[in-house]
Symmetry: C2
Subunit: 146 residues, 2 copies
DNA sequence: GCTCATAGTTAGGTAGCCTAACATTTTCGG
DNA sequence: CCGAAAATGTTAGGCTACCTAACTATGAGC
């Protein structure tokens, strides 16, 4: 037991992982595409839910360039979900903050998505759920490493 | 033990799962964006690797519409990676099949991606890897259910 | 054989991303 | 303390991948 894994084993696991991840992307897409808010919009709103943040932070967190973030944020603003205000401590910067409408929309959409996923998870047995729950932080670890 | 999970527990797991999945989408994107082949192209090639298949099958498997699939397949054809040939049993249909070049490109890209992921997985300890390996089929189960 | 369904392609449009160029503000070395 | 360089956003223009609608051609059924 507990011998160091061979390259072959690692590569086999890597392949399964990639395949599952690819399928999971579809799963994620189908769970999040309910015509309300896109995944990116949800992420943006959830960032702003904690505290107002800069456009450049939004871009970095979303993994996109600043002009693209500006574009998306302006759309959220036009939808009345966020406000764009100059940063009082640095007038180059723009702070993105949630409106009350935005917070409500974000929370409602999150609830609905959670319920949809919970309905899926309900069909697993307890062991499977436990395994899944144990694996989530490991996947996060990988994400952080990469 | 083994009581039925409460709604609260399910919703909490659902939330974690959604979050991790969202992050995993980024992970997947970064692992697959090496400027060679897009994830969609890899998927298309891997489908065609088993046996020639119809454009409509490609579209269905990729979760996109037929015209979009046609577009992508034509690009793969122009790159010399696939051939488009009329189905001998139904001349309305078009069969997409891999060229030798396509097979080599697909295998090489798959190898490189696997190596990259294996390098990540190598940094986990044995327990984590075992948990991860156990979770993959469960996630597939969810994907199949949804 | 005529009608209707099926398989793909073409045409035209949209959304989200990109880079390059710009205006404004801050920072900092001389 | 001032001019150059860096940082923050926005604007402009372009690309790609997706979409729907309309079309052609083939197959299937009464």
């Amino acid at each position: 037991m507990s011998l160091p894994p061979t390259d072959k084993q690692l590569l086999a696991l890597a392949q399964s992982f990639r395949t599952t991840l690819r399928h999971a992307v579809y799963l994620s897409r189908s769970m999040d595409s309910d015509g309300e808010l896109t995944t990116m919009q949800m992420s943006t709103l959830s960032m702003a839910a904690d505290e107002p943040l800069r456009v450049s932070r939004v871009a970095a967190n979303l993994g996109i360039r600043v002009p693209s973030a500006t574009e998306q944020i302006i759309k959220l603003e036009q939808a009345g979900l966020v406000l764009r205000q100059p940063d009082p401590t640095d007038s180059r910067a723009v702070l993105v903050q949630l409106t009350e409408t935005g917070r409500e929309a974000w929370e409602a959409a999150g609830r609905r998505r959670n319920e949809r996923v919970a309905a899926l998870l309900e069909q697993l047995d307890d062991d499977d759920r436990a395994t899944l729950a144990a694996a989530l932080p490991i996947i996060e670890k990988l994400n952080h490493t990469a």
